[in-house]
C-alpha cells in the first residue's frame, strides 16, 4: 500500500487559515489501512481543526467526505455536490488523491493534510515499513523476494557494504540490512551460488529517472 502520516496540526491550520469553509476529504484505500486518512481520521482531524479555530475565535465550517478511491476520477466526481459550498479542499489521501482532486476542480485550492511516505507493508500493528520504490524493473526474483533497491540504504545490487552488523544497517540499528535478509533467504532456498552473479548497472529509465511515468494498456484504453 501507499503509506502516509498526518501533517502536524499547526501546518494544516496554517494552510487553511484564509478559509472559513473546508471540504475535508478522506480516502477509503491505502490511507485508511495505514490509519492516516480514512473516515476515522477525517472525523478526528475535523474536530481538531474546529477546536483549534474556536480557540482563535473563528468558526470553521468543515464538511467531511470519504471517497472510495481519491485517485480515481469516477469517485472524485462525487465531490461535485459539495465542492461549491467549500472555500478550499483539505485532502487526507496520498499525493495521488490530492492531485486528482486538484485536476478535477481547477478553481478550488486543495491542500494536503498528510505526508505521503512510501510503498510498504505492515510489519505489525501500527508499524509500516518500506518495501518497494517502483523502479519499474523488478529484481525480486533474483534477490530471494527482498528488494535491495528499496531496502538497502545505498540501494546496492551486489551485496552488503561494510556497514552490515549483526543483521542491521549502519545508518540505524532499527533498520535491517537488506543484504543480510537476502543472503538468509538465498540460503534457505538453496540458492547461495546466485550471490556471485554480478547484477549489472541498473537501467534507471524505468524508474523516476526516466521522467514521469505512464502505463498505457491499449486493450483497455479508451
Amino acid at each position: 500500500m501507499i503509506t502516509a502520516e498526518r501533517k502536524p496540526i499547526e501546518e494544516i491550520m496554517e494552510s487553511i487559515r484564509p478559509f472559513n469553509r473546508i471540504l475535508l476529504v478522506g480516502c477509503n484505500e491505502c490511507v485508511t489501512v495505514c490509519a492516516a486518512g480514512g473516515r476515522k481520521e477525517v472525523g478526528l482531524l475535523s474536530s481538531a481543526l474546529q477546536m483549534a479555530c474556536m480557540k482563535e475565535g473563528k468558526v470553521l465550517d468543515v464538511k467531511e467526505m470519504t471517497l472510495e478511491r481519491q485517485c480515481d476520477p469516477e469517485y472524485v466526481e462525487e465531490l461535485v455536490s459539495a465542492i461549491n459550498q467549500a472555500d478550499a479542499v483539505l485532502s487526507m489521501a496520498c499525493g495521488c488523491g490530492v492531485q486528482e482532486v486538484a485536476r478535477r476542480f481547477k478553481e478550488k485550492p486543495v491542500f494536503p493534510a498528510v505526508n505521503t511516505k512510501f510503498m510498504g507493508a505492515s510489519e505489525r500493528q501500527g508499524v509500516w515499513a518500506e518495501r518497494c520504490q517502483g523502479c519499474g524493473d523488478c529484481v525480486l526474483g533474483l534477490t530471494g523476494g527482498i528488494c535491495p533497491v528499496a531496502r538497502c540504504s545505498k540501494r546496492l545490487l551486489n551485496g552488503p557494504c561494510g556497514g552490515s552488523t549483526r543483521g542491521k544497517c549502519e545508518i540505524n540499528a532499527e533498520v535491517d540490512c537488506a543484504w543480510q535478509l537476502i543472503w538468509d533467504r538465498l540460503k534457505a532456498l538453496g540458492l547461495e551460488k546466485r550471490y556471485e552473479d554480478i547484477m549489472p548497472a541498473k537501467d534507471w529509465r524505468t524508474s523516476r529517472d526516466g521522467g514521469p511515468r505512464r502505463i498505457i494498456r491499449e486493450d483497455l484504453a479508451s
Binding site: 551485496g159 557494504c161 552488523t165 549483526r166 543484504w179 548497472a201
Partner: protein, 307 residues
C-alpha cells in the same frame, strides 16, 4: 602491465607496497594538501586521496590528487558512488587520467546521514561492483558505460575495498570474489585489529585462490590515544575490532602514524580506517594535539563501509 600505475609496477614485481591516506581539507587550502603529502614523501608508494569521506564536504579528491601528482607523488583517486551518477564519474575519470592520475579506488561511500549534509540526495546510480566493471570496461574495452567508444581510453589501475570484519562473514570472501570478477586489480582492507578474524578471512581467500588474482593491501591504523582505542573498542565491538588493542594503546601513543612505521614490512600496510573518523564526526574523541595532527591520522575515508 595493464596501466602505467606506479603501484601496479610495485605489486606486479612481487614487492610489498605501502600506501597512506591524505584527506583533503575542508576549504580551498591547497597548501594543506601539499603539507600532508610532503610528510608522506619517501615513506609511501602511493597516497590515497579520499572523496568526501564520511559524507563531509571537502576539496574534491580529483583536485587534491592533481596537486599531489604535480608534486611528483603518486595519488590514488578515491571515488564514491554516493555523490555522482555514472556520467559524472566517467567524466572525472577522463579528467583525472588526462592529468596523469592512473590509480583509483572504487567505493560506495558512507551514507550521507553520517556527514554534514544529511539532507543531501544519495545518488547510488551504481554500486561499487558495477563501478569497478565500468572502469575496467573503460580501460580494456575502450567503452563508456553507455556503450560508446572512448577517444584514448583512461587506463586506470583499479582498487576496491574489503571489510573482513563486517557481517554476514560468510559473504565476505564471496564479496571479494565478486570484486575480482568485476575487474578489481587490488584491494585495500578495512583496518585490522582482529587478527584471528583477518586470518580466517585470508584462509577463505586462499582456499579460493583469490590471493593469486588480486593484490591485497592490509589496512593498519595505529591508535593515537587511549581514548581512540577505547572508542573503537566500543563502536567496533560488534564488528570484533579493537579488542586486541584497547589495552595496548600506550604502545601506539607517540608512534609515527600511518604507513611510516610499517614501510615494506612483512605485511603491506595502509593507514586506512574509519572508526577514528566516526569518532571524529561524532565529536567523541578526546582531542590530542592540534587540528592538523588529528587530521593526520583521523581522516579516513572508506574503512567503515567499503563496498
Amino acid at each position: 602491465m595493464k596501466t602505467e600505475s606506479a603501484l601496479e609496477k610495485i605489486l606486479a614485481a612481487g614487492h610489498l607496497a605501502v600506501t597512506s591516506e591524505c584527506g583533503p581539507p575542508r576549504g580551498a587550502v591547497p597548501e594543506k594538501v601539499k603539507e600532508k603529502a610532503e610528510k608522506l614523501r619517501g615513506y609511501v608508494d602511493a597516497i590515497n586521496v579520499t572523496d568526501n569521506q564520511t559524507a563531509m564536504v571537502r576539496m574534491s579528491s580529483f583536485a587534491a590528487c592533481l596537486i599531489i601528482r604535480q608534486m611528483g607523488l603518486h595519488p590514488i583517486l578515491q571515488m564514491v558512488t554516493r555523490d555522482r551518477n555514472r556520467l559524472a564519474m566517467q567524466s572525472d575519470i577522463l579528467g583525472a587520467y588526462s592529468h596523469g592520475i592512473n590509480t583509483m579506488l572504487c567505493l560506495s561511500g558512507d551514507h550521507p546521514c553520517f556527514g554534514d549534509h544529511p539532507m543531501a540526495a544519495n545518488v547510488y546510480d551504481l554500486d561499487s561492483i558495477q563501478f569497478i566493471q565500468m572502469v575496467k570496461n573503460m580501460r580494456d574495452e575502450g567503452k563508456f558505460q553507455g556503450g560508446d567508444e572512448i577517444l584514448n581510453p583512461p587506463k586506470m589501475f583499479i582498487g576496491a575495498a574489503a571489510n573482513p570484519f563486517a557481517d554476514p562473514f560468510e559473504l565476505r570472501v564471496a564479496r571479494l570474489a565478486k570484486k575480482v570478477k568485476a575487474g578489481a586489480d587490488f584491494i585495500q582492507t578495512q583496518c585490522i585489529y582482529d587478527l584471528p578474524r583477518f586470518e580466517k578471512w585470508m584462509q577463505g581467500v586462499r582456499d579460493r585462490g583469490l590471493h593469486e588474482k588480486i593484490h591485497i593491501l592490509a589496512g593498519v591504523t595505529p591508535f593515537k590515544s587511549a581514548g581512540m582505542a577505547k572508542y573503537m573498542n566500543q563502536v567496533h565491538e560488534e564488528q570484533s575490532a579493537g579488542h586486541e588493542c584497547a589495552g595496548r594503546d600506550d604502545q601506539a601513543h607517540g608512534r609515527g602514524s600511518q604507513g611510516q612505521a610499517g614501510r615494506r614490512r612483512s605485511q603491506p600496510l595502509r593507514g586506512d580506517h574509519t572508526a577514528p573518523q566516526r569518532g571524529e564526526r561524532r565529536g567523541r574523541f578526546p582531542h590530542h594535539g592540534d587540528r592538523m595532527g588529528r587530521e593526520g591520522a583521523g581522516d579516513r575515508e572508506k574503512g567503515r563501509t567499503p563496498s
